[in-house]
Structures are given as structure tokens and as C-alpha cells.
């Protein structure tokens, strides 16, 4: 009975959920993306017309849908954490599976987008805008894959009954990483697809 209080209280005690090490990692990743976002913004400042013009050729709909997909997937992961905090391994696995499935949807939509761009002959060297658009989204794409791998590993362990209401740091660790992937897209979408 007191265990629930413990898990909630342990957050109040100061440290974020999951393994501390993942948080170092998360902040290092945020730093890397942050610098990349700023580089984009300032490169744009030097070349507003090119960026505005090229931006119109992006598929804003798929960007928006992907935002929804990732946000929802993140929410499913929240439910997975909530489930395991109640000791419900089975539910935890389901929620994680759903989250990973949405990750897959994200990848597929993104692949269509890439395909359209590549078959239009666009590459990293087309212009500065596309250099940024492609490298930012590809870099993020790889993080989605990494996040899915982490979630899959967590799901496998949860499936084997490796987590309990008392001990489930692994779930929170994977969840925190996945939320970061979501957070990055939440910034990337308006930055690259919307702001003009």
C-alpha cells in the first residue's frame, strides 16, 4: 500500500523518473538539437526568401499529422507507466505496443515525405533550407527509431514480468526518452514547417 506513495514521493524528493543516467543523456541530446535548431533559425535569418520559398514545398499536412501521432504515442507511454505503477504488467505491455505502433506510423509517413523529396531530385546540397530540413528530420527520424528500440526492449521485459509496482525504473527510463523524442518534434514542426 505504501509503495504507491513511495513512487510518487520519490519524485518529490527531487530526481526525475527513470534512471538518472538517461537524464544526462536526454539533456545532452536536447543540447545537440537545440544548437541545430538555432543554427537553422540564424541561417534562415540570412536567407529569408529562400527559406520561405522552399518551405512552401513541404508537406505541412504530414508534418501536422506526425505531430498528432507522436503526441498521442507519448500519451500512450504515460498510460504504460501508470499501468506498471499499479503493477499491471499486461496493460503496460499493451500501451507500450500501441505507442511503438504509432512510432511506426510516424516513420512511414516520414518515409513518404522523404520519398517525395528525393524523387524530386532534392538532396542535402540543393540549398541551405533543404540541407537543414533533411538533416534535422533525418536526425530526428533516427531518434524515433532508437526510441522505438528502447521501448521495445522495455516492452519485452514487461512482457516477461520483469517489472512490478515497486520496481519499474526501466519503464520510466524508456518513457522519458520517448517523451524527449516527442518534445523535439513539437519544436521542429513549427520551426521548419510553419514559421515564416
Amino acid at each position: 500500500m505504501s509503495t504507491q506513495i513511495l513512487t510518487l514521493d520519490s519524485h518529490k524528493a527531487g530526481t526525475p523518473p527513470g534512471d538518472l543516467a538517461i537524464w544526462f543523456f536526454i539533456f545532452a541530446e536536447l543540447l545537440a538539437f537545440g544548437i541545430f535548431f538555432l543554427a537553422y533559425a540564424f541561417a534562415r535569418a540570412n536567407n529569408v526568401e529562400l527559406f520561405n520559398e522552399s518551405q512552401q514545398h513541404l508537406n505541412r499536412e504530414s508534418g501536422a499529422i506526425n505531430t498528432v501521432v507522436l503526441i498521442t504515442s507519448s500519451y500512450f507511454v504515460v498510460r504504460a507507466v501508470a499501468a506498471i505503477r499499479e503493477g499491471l504488467s499486461r496493460q503496460c505491455v499493451y500501451w507500450l505496443g500501441a505507442a511503438i505502433g504509432l512510432g511506426g506510423v510516424f516513420l512511414v509517413i516520414k518515409l513518404f515525405e522523404f520519398h517525395a523529396k528525393f524523387s524530386a531530385g532534392i538532396s542535402l546540397s540543393t540549398n541551405t533550407f533543404y540541407m537543414f530540413y533533411l538533416s534535422l528530420t533525418i536526425f530526428h527520424f533516427m531518434h524515433v527509431i532508437l526510441g522505438m528500440v528502447i521501448l521495445a526492449a522495455v516492452m519485452l521485459k514487461a512482457h516477461q514480468g520483469g517489472y512490478t509496482a515497486e520496481h519499474h525504473t526501466g519503464v520510466e527510463t524508456g518513457a522519458s526518452y520517448w517523451h524527449m523524442v516527442d518534445l523535439l518534434w513539437i519544436i521542429l514542426f513549427p520551426l521548419v514547417y510553419v514559421i515564416r
Partner: protein, 458 residues
């Protein structure tokens, strides 16, 4: 020493130190040639001395890494080495091949050496750090493979720890990326492009794995901190190395004819490369502060802490200094590069090898630590070499800033040699610091022969 076969590390360490002395002597010769152009002319031209200086550096570091691996892997795996005989055989092959190569550099003109060693059949020579004749390169590969086979078999039959796995990954990576030295496309852009796959992916990639695991090993031993904590740090450091270091290679692709996006990739990712080095420093100090025991080997602790700090300064700070494309535009290939190269190589790799030697050598000689007197001398040598290296770096940086100014920024730019003439003072000061470095190195060697009361190894 817990396993008999760890003893094979000893000749590797001795050879490493011997070649280190050779490296420094040739550094000093070159340093003098910088200010007295015809010193030792025509016996040892500058380009030959340079080649000997840098190749000896690489080879002694490799000896150090191999010795470290042969020492650590049995202890980590809790089993004897798969084949100590093979390890000794490899040692002699490597030593003889290395010695013959250096003799070749010094006795015959480089072009003749190239001809004798079939370079025209498969040209690989003539590129900085990778000057070795084809036969030597093949020899290095064979030596590396035999070592990897030996170590991998040992790990497979014994306990698998994250330290030994990271070390093996680093050593395998070292061998794999060396293979790019056999690829020498005639297109100069591609040549340079893949040259960095060996050079950069070594020092800012797989060697950092080796560095991390050596440091972690020594820290576990001297501090007694829980393995789990140390392993967690190790993983985070490795992850950061790989995230930043691989694409960070772009900082060498700014001006060699590669696409423009490398200026962005290189700047962004390499700007983050100091992070893992910084983490290593924090790691070392943190572990020592949390230590659960007072290890009698104070010198080894000092080396470990020194490695953290100097690697961060040399690679992290001095690397960052010129890693952004707009800065590198001015500093590319100047003395600033040399300043960074010296402090980074010394602070990260020379020092980590001395760290493991400092820890392992007494063990190999049957004691937990050297006598008080010997350790005091070793610590003196630590300070002399390290401070001398800091000064070498500072003088070269000063020379580099002036060089950039005179040659590339000022309204009436001077030619290369004219600019060099203006900074001779700093080259003299660098040479004096170099002599102090040599004194430190001599003391270091003497410290191995200082007797006195010692404790038996546990």
C-alpha cells in the same frame, strides 16, 4: 597481479616507454630545426624527423594500449589469457617491424623506401601519420588481429564486464578503421576524406572507448567504488562520444572540396565533442572523492585525475577553440592546430597509458605500489611533463595567433616564411619547455629503479 598471464603486459609497457623517449628526442630535434634551419642537415631532414616523431607516438601508444589490454582482460574476465605465448610472439613481431620501419625512415630516402617496399604495386604511403610502408601496415593489421583474437577468446571464456566489452569494442574499432589506410584513391578530395576515417575516428572515436575503459578500470581498482556506478558513467561517456564524434568528423571537411553542409554538421556536432571529455573529468574526480579505500598507489590516482583534466583541456577546450567553421577558416593548419594536437595527444592518450602503467607496473613486479621515494619521484615527473606540456601548448597557441594575424588577417598579409620569422621567440620558448619535458621523462624512467620499502601485492 592475479593471473600469471597478465605478465605479458610488461614487455609492452617497457617498449612503450622506450619508444616514448625516442619520440621526444625527435620532437626536440625538430623544435631546434624550427629555429636553426640547418641543424643536422642533411643527416635528418625535418620531414623525416617529423615522420619519426609522429609514428613513434602512434606506435608507443599502441604498445601501451595492447599492454593495458593484456593486463586488464584476464583480470576482468577472471581467467588466464587465451594464449600468453601468442601475445609474446606478437610483441616481438611488432617491435621488430616497428624498429625496422624507423631504421628505414632514417637510413634510406623515403622514395627509395617506398620503392623497396612495393609501394608502386599498392600505393598507401606518403600521408601524415600513415607513412608506414605497405609491409609494416600489413604487419600492424596482423598484430592487431592476433591480439583481438587472443583477447576476444579470453573474454568469451570468462566473465564479461562492461569494461572489457568497451575495451574490446575500442580495439576492434581501432583495427577496422586502420583498414582505411590501405585505401588511397587518386582523387585528392577522396584521399583526404578517408584519411580522416582513420585519423579522426581513431582519436575522437574508438580510442576514446579505450581511454574510457582504461580510466574506469584504474578508478575501480584505486577507489573501490561500486562497479555499477562506474559502469553507468562509462556507458554515458561512450554514448556521448559516439553521438558527437562520428559526425563531428565534419570539422575536417570544411575546406577540402566536400559539400558545404559539412560546415554545419562539423560545427554543430564537434562543438559537442568536449562534453564526453568533460564527463570524464567529472567522473574521475567524483569517483576519487567517493573512494572507499586509500590505495597505496598515490601516483596512479594522480595520473588518473591528470588524464581527466588534461584530456578535457587539450581535446575539449583547445579542440573547441578552432572547431567552428568560421574560426577554422582562419586557423586551419596553423600552429594552433599543433598546440591542440600536442596537448590532446599528451593529455588523453599519453597520460592514460602512463596511468595504467603506473597502476599495473608495480603489480607486475609483485607489489601493490612502489616505495614512497619512488612515488614521489614519479609525481615529480608527472608535474614536470604536464606543466611543460601546458607551456608548449601556450607558446604554440601564442605563435599560432600571431601567425593567423600576420599571415591571414592583417591588411598586408605576410608570406608563410616571413610570418614564421616573426614568431621565432615562441619557438625558442617551446624548445626550452620541451627540454623540461624531457627532464620529466627521464625522472619518470628513473622512478622505476628507485628502491625502498614496499608493500606486497594483495
Amino acid at each position: 597481479m592475479q593471473y600469471q598471464s597478465q605478465a605479458v603486459a610488461k614487455p609492452y609497457f617497457i617498449a612503450a616507454i622506450g619508444l616514448f623517449v625516442g619520440q621526444i628526442l625527435f620532437g626536440l630535434i625538430m623544435g631546434l630545426q624550427y629555429v636553426m634551419g640547418d641543424f643536422l642537415f642533411p643527416a635528418i631532414p625535418f620531414n623525416v624527423a617529423r615522420m619519426v616523431h609522429t609514428n613513434l607516438l602512434i606506435v608507443w601508444l599502441l604498445f601501451g594500449f595492447m599492454g593495458a589490454a593484456y593486463y586488464m582482460i584476464p583480470e576482468e574476465s577472471e581467467t588466464e589469457l587465451f594464449s600468453p605465448k601468442l601475445a609474446l610472439l606478437t610483441f616481438w613481431v611488432f617491435l621488430v617491424a616497428g624498429a625496422l620501419t624507423i631504421v628505414g625512415y632514417l637510413t634510406v630516402p623515403y622514395a627509395t623506401l617506398a620503392k623497396f617496399t612495393f609501394n608502386d604495386l599498392w600505393p598507401t604511403m606518403g600521408r601524415e601519420f600513415l607513412e608506414q610502408p605497405l609491409v609494416t601496415k600489413v604487419g600492424i593489421v596482423l598484430v592487431a588481429l592476433s591480439m583481438l583474437f587472443n583477447l576476444t577468446m579470453t573474454v568469451l571464456k570468462g566473465r564479461k564486464t562492461s569494461i572489457s566489452i568497451v575495451l574490446l569494442m575500442g580495439l576492434w574499432g581501432l583495427a577496422v578503421f586502420f583498414l582505411f589506410s590501405f585505401y588511397n584513391p587518386s582523387n585528392l578530395v577522396l584521399d583526404k576524406y578517408f584519411w580522416w576515417w582513420t585519423v579522426h575516428l581513431w582519436v575522437e572515436g574508438v580510442w576514446e572507448l579505450i581511454l574510457g575503459s582504461l580510466l574506469a578500470f584504474v578508478l575501480i581498482k584505486v577507489t573501490g567504488v561500486d562497479r555499477e556506478i562506474i559502469e553507468k558513467w562509462l556507458y554515458m561517456i561512450i554514448a556521448m562520444v559516439l553521438i558527437t564524434g562520428i559526425i563531428g568528423m565534419g570539422h575536417h571537411y570544411y575546406w577540402i572540396g566536400t559539400p558545404e553542409y559539412w560546415q554545419w554538421f562539423g560545427s554543430v556536432f564537434s562543438a559537442l565533442e568536449p562534453i564526453p571529455f568533460f564527463m570524464m573529468t567529472v567522473f574521475a574526480f567524483n569517483m576519487v572523492n567517493r573512494r572507499r579505500r586509500e590505495h597505496p598507489n598515490k601516483a596512479a590516482v594522480l595520473w588518473a585525475l591528470g588524464t581527466g583534466v588534461m584530456a578535457f583541456l587539450g581535446a575539449g577546450v583547445w579542440g573547441f577553440l578552432h572547431t567552428l567553421a568560421p574560426v577554422n577558416f582562419y586557423t586551419h593548419g596553423t600552429q594552433i592546430t599543433a598546440a591542440h594536437g600536442h596537448m590532446a595527444f599528451y593529455g588523453a592518450y599519453a597520460m592514460v597509458v602512463m596511468t595504467i602503467i603506473s597502476y599495473a607496473m608495480p603489480m607486475l613486479r609483485g607489489r601493490a605500489a612502489n616505495s614512497e621515494k619512488s612515488q614521489v619521484l614519479e609525481m615529480w615527473s608527472f608535474w614536470l611533463m604536464t606543466v611543460a606540456m601546458v607551456f608548449i601548448t601556450l607558446f604554440l597557441t601564442a605563435a599560432g595567433i600571431l601567425q593567423v594575424w600576420l599571415q591571414r588577417v592583417s591588411t598586408e598579409p605576410l608570406g608563410f616564411m616571413a610570418a614564421q620569422d616573426q614568431v621565432t621567440l615562441f619557438y625558442w620558448l617551446r624548445e626550452i619547455s620541451g627540454v623540461i619535458f624531457l627532464i620529466g621523462l627521464v625522472l619518470y624512467i628513473i622512478s622505476f629503479f628507485v628502491k625502498g620499502e614496499t608493500k606486497e601485492a594483495a
